[in-house]
């Protein structure tokens, strides 16, 4: 499972070789550092912990600093773990750059969606709302029925209802990598990705379309 952390820069349009317009999202990806290697023997499972986003030393706790100095990595703000089937080949302090991916790779991008605050059922779950006419008042965007009556006599847990929307982890699967430039730490993927600009995103191999040999 190759993966790299980055920041969403924004969307733009590029042209491919045939001259067709391609909508892309630009990601400022890496460099990431391997901050911990977990193996079946030591931790019971195989994984690599990668760190991203260099910050001044004072922004980290002593514990965090100690953990990073063990890996001889710079002071980093974000740490994420990537699970591996077999023992990972990375060593402590290894640098991961954008060139782990190449043009045409299929990836998943994980991020935190934009927070929408407390939203009603129409926006949050796509409810139809009430009729617009025929003497309706105050029913236009109502949620409607919450379930059956005396039996069961209560609202089912998990029933869709108004509430907080967004600001949650969202993964967009099977995006094609349109452009990679490791020197400028740049990855461009075709299509949109979750979150706002400057939001932290994880780009990793597509789970449903894994690379030929990984």
């Amino acid at each position: 499972m190759r993966g790299i952390l980055g920041k969403k820069v924004g969307m733009m349009q590029l042209y491919d070789e045939s001259g067709a317009v391609v909508p892309v999202t630009i990601i400022d990806a890496g460099p990431c550092y391997v901050t911990q290697v977990k193996t079946l023997d030591t931790d019971g499972y195989n994984a690599v912990q990668i760190g991203y986003d260099e910050v001044p030393e004072r922004k980290l706790t002593k514990g965090e600093r100690g953990h990073l100095s063990k890996a001889t990595a710079p002071t980093l703000r974000e740490l994420r773990e990537l699970r591996y089937k077999n023992a990972p080949t990375y060593g402590l302090g290894d640098v991961i750059k954008a060139d782990i991916f190449k043009e045409g790779d299929i990836v998943d991008v994980e991020g935190t969606s934009k927070g929408r605050g407390f939203q009603g059922g129409v926006k949050r779950h796509g409810f139809a709302g009430g009729p617009k006419t025929h003497g309706q008042s105050d029913r236009h965007r109502a949620v409607g029925s919450r379930g059956a009556g005396t039996t069961p006599g209560h609202t089912w847990p998990g029933a869709r209802a108004p509430g907080h929307m967004g600001n949650e982890r969202v993964t967009v699967q099977n995006l094609k990598v349109a452009l990679v430039d490791a020197e400028r730490n740049l990855i461009a993927v075709r299509g949109a990705i979750p979150g706002s600009r400057n939001g932290l995103v994880l780009v990793r191999d597509a789970v449903k379309k894994p690379p030929k040999q990984a």
Partner: protein
């Protein structure tokens, strides 16, 4: 919203692409690939709108009047590689950025006054 990374990806315009504006009568030479053959298709008309400034996704819309007074508008990406050449045939004096009022006009009413004595 442009940052340095995005600016570095700005597509390049071919050197002989002229500066176009609303009201210009232009001839767009577009490369069309049909199977293995490639030919040039010409679309001639009035530039009625420019969209997106100089951004990578910018475009311009050309309006021409086809047979029987039917208007046809085509929007081309400003940096499209399939546009082989663009010629400006005429510049017109216009007082707005989007000439959508031409859609309601036809024939003599759709004329635009030519801008003469241009500084070269």
């Amino acid at each position: 919203m442009t940052n340095a990374l995005m600016a570095s990806l700005q597509p390049e315009q071919s050197a002989d692409f002229p500066e176009i504006g609303p009201g210009d009568t232009v001839r767009v030479h577009q490369r069309i690939r049909e199977g293995r053959n490639e030919r040039i298709q010409i679309f001639q008309g009035v530039v009625v709108a420019l969209r997106g400034g100089k951004s990578a996704g910018a475009s311009y819309t050309v309006r021409r009047t086809a047979s029987h007074g039917v208007g046809v508008e085509r929007t081309f990406p400003l940096y499209s590689k399939s546009v082989d050449k663009l010629e400006i045939l005429r510049k017109a004096k216009v007082r707005r950025a989007q000439l959508y009022f031409l859609r309601e006009r036809s024939g003599k009413a759709a004329r635009l006054k030519e801008k003469r004595f241009l500084k070269a």
